[in-house]
């Protein structure tokens, strides 16, 4: 926990870091890499006096981040070209959206797959358009998995591009339809904001709601430090940009039935990163907040995840949230039968 705390401190208050020992630096780098935060750390520490090797490591991380940005924006552009003839709203999600809108949250942000949100009724047409442009299924279409994805999940089975070898996840809402909170997908699309390149992104308040849903509904909180850092960066930028932001966030959180998730996200961001948050929206501190914090900080200076029991408990919780128990059992049984 000590080493993850060092990482959080370095991000939150790089000026207050003070002198670190060689061991501390090695631990900080390993923990940051394990938490996918090395890029963000590199930007936070940029320009400060650092040991030569650390400066080289972080310069490499900044270079990496620039490359990740180029590749993410390129995937978005190729998806735009493929879907242009269909004339539908294509909404970028997560890291790619941050980069496309040049948000502070994009600094140092690595990006995995391209995630986009489309209207549910256009999903099949979109898949055809993507396949025509060179994306393909990871596995050949299979009866049960197909059914599972189309009926219970909130996305198409993932597609991978034939030559570029990069994945695209096409969503029609931000949580599985079987999960208990049911966000309003049509409202997400309606409130979306146009980007200069012709693609779109979620409105600021919806972006926070999505990040909060993503953080908790995915369940085991893996990658939580990174997700909360996203939320911290987004909140600071959005709150500074508009006096209306907090009331809007309250409104949208309720609209998407994610009030609790958003409140928890605010409290945890404040706890870890000292994010200024609206006290009313965040609500009172709960005893379980400390459990969440412990889970988020369960990383040591060798990059290992500690506290396995806590992690397992959160993992089960994750699957529970995604699918009602009976459905989960059926899914697992069919999978086991092969």
């Amino acid at each position: 926990m000590r080493d993850a705390r060092l990482l959080v401190r370095a991000l939150r208050d790089p000026d207050g870091l003070g002198l670190l020992s060689a061991g501390d630096w090695s631990a900080l780098v390993a923990a940051a890499r394990a938490e996918q935060l090395i890029g963000s750390l590199a930007f936070r520490l940029e320009g400060r006096p650092l040991p030569g090797r650390v400066e080289a490591i972080l310069a490499g991380a900044r270079h990496d981040a620039a490359q990740a940005r180029t590749q993410a924006l390129w995937e978005a552009e190729m998806a735009r070209r493929a879907l242009a003839p269909l004339d539908l709203p294509v909404i970028l999600l997560k890291g790619t959206a941050f980069h496309a809108a040049d948000l502070q949250a994009s600094e140092g942000r690595s990006v995995g797959d391209l995630d986009i949100l489309l209207p549910r009724e256009r999903l099949e047409a979109a898949e055809e358009g993507l396949v025509a442009a060179g994306w393909e299924r990871l596995k050949p279409a299979d009866g049960y998995d197909d059914l599972y994805y189309r009926r219970w999940m909130h996305e198409l089975p993932p597609l991978i591009h034939r030559t570029r070898d990069r994945m695209i996840d096409v969503h029609h809402t931000i949580l599985p339809p079987t999960a208990r909170p049911t966000p309003d997908a049509a409202a997400l699309i309606e409130a979306s904001v146009a980007l200069p390149n012709g693609l779109r992104m979620l409105s600021p308040a919806d972006m926070i709601v999505h990040a909060a849903a993503h953080l908790f509904a995915d369940g085991d909180l893996a990658g939580g430090l990174r997700n909360l850092w996203d939320i911290d960066r987004l909140l600071r930028e959005f709150a500074a940009g508009s006096a209306d932001f907090w009331p809007m966030l309250a409104q949208r959180a309720e609209r998407h039935q994610l009030g609790k998730a958003v409140a928890l996200a605010l409290r945890l961001a404040r706890r870890l990163y000292a994010t200024p948050v609206d006290a009313g929206l965040a609500g009172r501190d709960r005893p379980t907040d400390r459990l969440f914090e412990a889970r988020l900080l369960a990383r040591n200076g060798w990059g290992q995840e500690k506290s396995k029991l806590l992690r397992f408990a959160f993992y089960v919780r994750g699957h529970w949230l995604r699918m009602p128990p009976l459905m989960l059992a059926r899914h697992l049984w069919v999978k086991a039968r092969g």
């Binding site: 890499r33 040991p51 490591i57």
Partner: protein, 287 residues
């Protein structure tokens, strides 16, 4: 982590942690004469861990982890822990090295200039480089060649040479036994024995060299030298690089410069003696 070892190899430093003592004891013996990083900071972290907690003691099995991890990698038996440590370091370089353009190649230096040998696995590059290192050349590395992005110079990365199957006997005849690691049988890559580079290679591991000749050696065919078109060289080198794509424009520029400046040839050879002869001949011509 319970057991730890730090190593400086060329410009790169590693921190290796292990749940068991044995792999690091073997690693320390193999890397006798190498220093720890002067500043005490690690460029990369490698971890040798049990897959599940009980596999630490029961049928101990070593999972290779660290800053960069291959998700489906199979663990190795504890008896092959030394190999796991080596593979772990390779993995960090392959996935994490950003300061240099990384070429999967063997390299050796003479008179301040570097020979780069690259090609498919099993082509014998490691053995050739190790032999050259005992015949008047300085071994720079057998697995990875590091190309500086700004100046285009090649930097040494003199890890222990990984000798497989027949190559082991070849080098056992050239080099005293105390430079070898243990003989590891039945590994996923067959029989392996590691060889520590000689004193000269270790003492000069901080010295870079200007690339002067690129060779694509192929073992098992009649002696031959063939020219290779520059566009083909460029393409083959991108295939031999794990980080060309991540380096973007800087990688493109560095590689274009290397290909433009450096003569290249493909050589076929039936035995190592012939190979050394071909290398020396082409080296003289490239001067």
């Amino acid at each position: 982590m319970k057991h730890r070892l730090s190593l400086q190899i060329g410009p790169v430093s590693f921190r290796i942690g292990s749940a068991w003592a044995e792999p690091l004891d073997a690693l320390a013996r193999l890397y006798a004469g190498y220093s720890e990083p002067e500043d005490g900071i690690a460029d990369f972290t490698v971890r040798l861990e049990p897959e599940q907690i009980w596999r630490r003691w029961i049928r101990p099995s070593v999972a290779i982890r660290g800053d960069y991890i291959l998700p489906d990698a199979l663990p190795l038996a504890l008896a092959h822990g030394l190999l796991a440590a080596e593979m772990g370091m390779n993995l960090q370089m392959a996935l994490g090295q950003k300061r240099f353009l990384l070429l999967h190649a063997a390299s050796a230096e003479k008179d301040g200039r570097a020979l780069i040998m690259t090609g498919e696995s099993g082509a014998g590059k490691s053995t050739l480089a190790a032999l050259l290192g005992e015949r008047g050349w300085r071994l720079m590395g057998d697995e990875f060649a590091l190309l500086d992005l700004d100046e285009g110079r090649l930097h040494p990365f003199p890890r222990a040479v990984s000798l497989k199957n027949k190559a082991i006997a070849v080098m056992e005849q050239e080099v005293p036994g105390d430079r070898f690691g243990p003989r590891l049988e039945d590994t996923p890559k067959g029989t392996i024995r590691h060889l520590r580079p000689n004193q000269e290679a270790l003492g000069r591991m901080g010295e870079s060299a200007r690339p002067a000749l690129i060779l694509f050696p192929r073992f098992g065919a009649a002696e031959a030298i063939r020219g290779v078109g520059q566009a083909e060289i460029f393409m083959r080198l991108t295939q031999a690089s794990t980080n060309y794509v991540t380096l973007g424009a800087a990688g493109f520029d560095a590689l274009a410069k290397l290909v433009g400046a450096c003569p290249a040839a493909a050589i076929d050879y039936p035995d190592t003696g012939t190979a050394i002869g071909l290398v020396e001949e082409l080296w003289r011509e490239a001067a």
